[in-house]
């Protein structure tokens, strides 16, 4: 009979927490992979137009972003309400685009330079005058591959 009475203590054994680090690391890895870092804070309104004949922009490291649009409410007091260009983290003039392209080129490996694409993230309500100024500057800087970043959707109905 005595062999059934070996364990007398009625307390519940503590649940092992040895795997807690695993779970935490798993979550950490997951979020590290799934989050895309926004390197620049948007200072312009960026309601992209819609289109459905789109191509994907792979290889994030080979893309230079140019943002344009009206400044967000916070900056409208200082910079006014007319559409502006944003390069990296600050507002820029049309004339600064060439320098920006050269800087971006210099920061990339030489053999990758021909594959660089300029992605234009422009607010749908901007006027073409601004965009054509940007395009002229890009032509001068010989950055000829561009991509108009859009949302996907029906272009006729949405715009």
């Amino acid at each position: 009979m005595s062999k059934f009475n070996k364990k007398k203590s009625g307390d519940l054994p503590a649940i092992s927490t040895a795997s807690l680090p695993d779970i935490v690391f798993m979550l950490l890895f997951f979020f590290m992979v799934a989050t895309t870092m926004r390197e620049t804070t948007l200072m312009v309104k960026n309601n992209l137009p819609t289109a459905n004949q789109v191509e994907k922009l792979d290889k994030k490291d080979l893309i230079m972003y140019i943002y344009a649009g009206k400044p967000v409410d916070r900056y409208q007091g200082t910079y006014g309400t007319s559409a502006k260009i944003q390069l990296n983290d600050k507002f820029a003039d049309v004339g600064e685009i060439q320098d920006f392209i050269y800087q971006e080129r210099a920061s990339k490996r030489e053999e990758l330079v021909p594959f660089l694409t300029t992605a234009l993230k422009v607010d749908g309500d901007s006027k073409m005058g601004l965009i054509s100024d940007i395009k002229q500057e890009l032509r001068k800087a010989n950055a000829l591959k561009i991509n108009y970043v859009t949302k996907s959707g029906d272009a006729v109905k949405m715009n």
Partner: protein, 201 residues
């Protein structure tokens, strides 16, 4: 009856489960990528260039967008929704030696898809979203024709051929097979879209 204590849960396999989940999420999550309409800008014009070749009026499809976002296509006012069909009709007209065209063979419209040029003129006051919509419709017109000829020749639409070509999972061997097909289609319907510098006011 003696009170039995609950046996300790074996936590040794917990790490395995954790890694299983980690790998599952790694495989299934796709990181959000941007997509958009890709274009190539013409290189900067050098001075004293030879004058551009003369293009016959019938081979030119002019699309003008004014500052009120209204469209003037071939000197007629047009709604955006009709632009795609009009562009397809122009490109696919094929009045002379075009065996794959199914157009009306109108003698006043384009001679051949390889000669047909779409010219897009914007105004500085045109809104960007209207510009993108027009670009989208014109690209769609080209894709529609390319899809049609690709389906009849290879039994697969051009967009799907291109998607497979750009897919990183496609092996190099398959890519080499797809490339001549894509190029052949592009040669039948070359994308000739010319953009003039926007007019003032």
């Amino acid at each position: 009856m003696a009170k039995r204590s609950a046996p300790e849960v074996n936590a040794g396999s917990m790490a395995d489960i954790a890694f299983l989940l980690l790998i599952f999420f790694l495989v299934t999550t796709t990181i959000e990528t941007d997509s958009g309409i890709s274009r190539k800008l013409p290189p900067e014009q050098e001075e004293n260039q030879p004058p551009p070749p003369v293009i016959k009026e019938r081979n030119l499809f002019t699309v003008i967008v004014n500052s009120n976002d209204e469209l003037l296509v071939e000197d007629k006012v047009m709604e955006l929704k009709d632009l795609r069909a009009a562009a397809v009709a122009f490109l696919d007209n094929g009045a002379e030696d075009c065996s794959y065209c199914q157009g009306a063979k109108d003698p006043s419209s384009s001679v051949n898809p390889t000669k047909a040029i779409i010219s897009l003129v914007n105004n500085r006051g045109t809104s960007y979203k209207r510009y993108i919509a027009v670009q989208n419709e014109l690209v769609a017109a080209y894709n529609e024709l390319r899809d049609r000829v690709a389906t009849s020749q290879y039994g697969e639409s051009f967009t799907s051929l291109e998607a497979r070509y750009n897919d990183p999972r496609t092996t190099q061997e398959n890519k080499d097979k797809l490339k001549p097909k894509i190029e052949a289609i592009q040669e039948l319907y070359p994308e000739k879209l010319s953009e003039a510098e926007p007019k003032k006011s």
